[in-house]
């Protein structure tokens, strides 16, 4: 099949170019394609437009690409956790397009589904709707939002097989499945590379058709926790 690549650099070889639009999965630091982000950083590619719900934190996730000033524009719903972002934005070095989180998710889903535009109630009467067409349906006003298709999507999955079929674990699913469908090239990093047949076909969330390349993360792979919150065990 030839979808499996040796490492992240290899998996992105020939794909990266300056000025391209990249979708990057994850919510906060949960389910982010950290290896692939690292490889993009190493490649030195610049002027990127990044579609991602968040912008990582200063020293992890997309924060790594902000540090190196490889990002020109972010399309996101919330970037509060990143001081580098704030500094570059206030200095006018970084552009941001805020989308309501659900509108962002749906725009990506629409892009992958061949839907160029849809209507939503979200944002009607707010700054988000300014300059966009509105329409009435059954007496309610809705705003038109556009589907997005990127040049490249980088995503993270729990398990993947050689055909590119993917499953996700818990809330690390988030934006990854839609982004897998909404780019001309989708590269996935998986925690566990398995053989075709190892995944129950009823459980596959992303069918292999959407995944062009995949790479297994190495043994030292670390998943960071952004807000470690716990409760105390009561003594019996």
């Amino acid at each position: 099949m030839g979808k499996v690549y040796r490492d992240a650099q290899d998996a992105l070889a020939g794909v990266l170019r300056d000025g391209m639009m990249i979708m990057s999965g994850g919510f906060g630091l949960c389910g982010i394609p950290s290896l692939l982000i690292g490889a993009i950083r190493e490649s030195g590619v610049r002027d990127l437009t990044i579609v991602s719900n968040n912008a990582g934190i200063d020293d992890a996730g997309l924060g790594l690409l902000l540090q190196t000033r490889q990002v020109r524009k972010m399309i996101s719903s919330y970037v509060g956790e990143n001081a580098t972002f704030a500094r570059q934005f206030l200095a006018g070095e970084l552009e941001i397009e805020f989308n309501p989180q659900g509108t962002l998710a749906e725009r990506i889903r629409a892009g992958g589904a061949g839907i160029p535009a849809f209507y939503t109630k979200t944002g009607v009467g707010t700054a988000v709707a300014e300059g966009k067409p509105t329409a009435e349906f059954d007496g309610e006003t809705y705003v038109q939002e556009r589907g997005i298709v990127a040049d490249l999507s980088i995503i993270h999955a729990w398990k993947g097989d050689e055909e590119g079929n993917l499953i996700y674990r818990r809330t690390a699913r988030n934006f990854n499945p839609m982004m897998a469908t909404a780019a001309r090239m989708t590269v996935a990093q998986v925690e566990h590379l398995v053989q075709p047949g190892d995944l129950d076909p009823d459980h596959i969330v992303t069918p292999g058709i959407f995944v062009k390349r995949l790479v297994q993360v190495g043994p030292g792979f670390e998943k960071r926790i952004e807000q470690r919150t716990t409760r105390k065990k009561l003594m019996a």
Partner: protein, 216 residues
Amino acid sequence: MAWTRDQMAARAARELEDGFYVNLGIGIPTLVANHVPSNVNVQLQSENGMLGLGPFPYEGEEDADLINAGKQTITALPTSSYFSSADSFAMIRGGHIDLSILGALQVAANGDLANWMIPGKMVKGMGGAMDLVAGVKKVVVLMEHTAGGKPKLLKDCSLPLTGARVVDMVITELGVFTLARKGETAVTLIELAPEVTLEEITAKTEAPFTVALRNA
């Protein structure tokens, strides 16, 4: 005597009905989960893709793949399910969530809500707030009655809106108001916190309201 944050959360919890699916915002709304009556079964939704939120994990049992919309580590329940962000907001936008309880910077008499940006300050983004207020069946705002001594329940919002005519109820430390999302603007004070006077709450509220106190 004005309600404490916990008492405000407990008051908001009285809006929960058996079988409700509920989304709780960050801050005081999170406390509502501690006050769910024992005879009421609710499932909490987190917009990052989970239904059936459990409590925080015990120390050492945190899972990087299991967080809520505030990016805090949480746990699952036997009823839990996971789904993508598109499916999560399809659920929200499609009107399947019964109740959303969230904070606010300002609420206007007509139900307008502002809670995502203050011009001149660094803008962090609206996250899922605009989708929640547009999509959820009932929206309850849980907020301090004033900020820096100034009323937050106003004739009109001066801050950029999160949603237009989206708030059904406002709970503050001083009392509870209902609002009309459709038709004529109608703010009604339905409860006062213990020992809070009508004079006090009127002085601290810019939005005109009628009074129809219910037995709390």
